[in-house]
């Protein structure tokens, strides 16, 4: 699993590649929280274009970050989830809490 974190003004963009299971959950949680706790980030974009698998450990990281972002009155977005990943996101109900878009460009255009 690889991840790339980029801060653009008060928005953190996280691009994840690989399988979101318990192996990466801790690392992902720590890396994102370090940025969020720096108080300069209030919005979070998770790019899942290159995520090939997600289970409840990966969902836990997303849901936990959603709670944090909500507490900061920020917005959170998920972009580029594949059909198989989207199916799990929808099954968990995450799509009712977090807006899902096809690409990063779609968010810029909002």
């Amino acid at each position: 699993m690889e991840m790339e974190l980029r801060q653009i003004r008060n928005t953190l963009l996280v691009r994840i590649k690989g399988e979101m299971d318990m192996v990466i959950a801790d690392r992902l949680r720590k890396e994102i929280d370090r940025k969020l706790d720096g108080k300069k980030v209030i919005n979070l974009v998770i790019n899942m274009e290159k995520v090939t698998f997600i289970d409840s450990s990966g969902l836990g990281v997303i849901l936990g970050r959603y709670k944090k972002i909500s507490g900061l009155n920020g917005k959170m977005y998920i972009v580029g989830a594949s059909p198989s990943v989207s199916k799990i996101l929808m099954f968990s109900g995450i799509n009712k809490l977090i807006s899902m878009y096809n690409s990063e460009q779609d968010i810029v255009n909002i």
Binding site: E19, D21, M22, V23, F53, D55, S57, G60, S84
Partner: protein, 148 residues
Amino acid sequence: MNMKNYVRFEFPSTPENVSFARSCVAAFATQIDCNLEELEEIKLVVSEAVTNCIIHGYENKPHGKIIVLATILDNHSMEIMIEDYGKGITDIKQAMEANFSTDPARTGLGFTFMKSFMDDLDVQSQPGIGTSVKLTRCFLTKDKEALA
């Protein structure tokens, strides 16, 4: 044709083995008549069951033993047993409730996924002895039946 076949393997309770276990069972499952979406579902439920063994059964300690036994029952059905010798579950009914977790940082969706994506889920557990999860799924849908 009855093509009963099985694979059995054991490994220590380290997080890296979750990916190994789900890929291994999914590779074995290609021997039966199931599609890519169904293989993804097999990967998910194995991932959840093995993650439970590591996080709850062995409380993240890396030296616990996990056994996986996957059996092809016929052309369309498969049974997967996942066992640990860890802490065990005190209240199985509560553990299987959606969104319940003994760990507040977790989603409590593991058993929900197993119940939803498999036809049958049987959990046997004894505190201090261990837990055994049996997952069964028949991949013969009405569409496939019509094509057969």
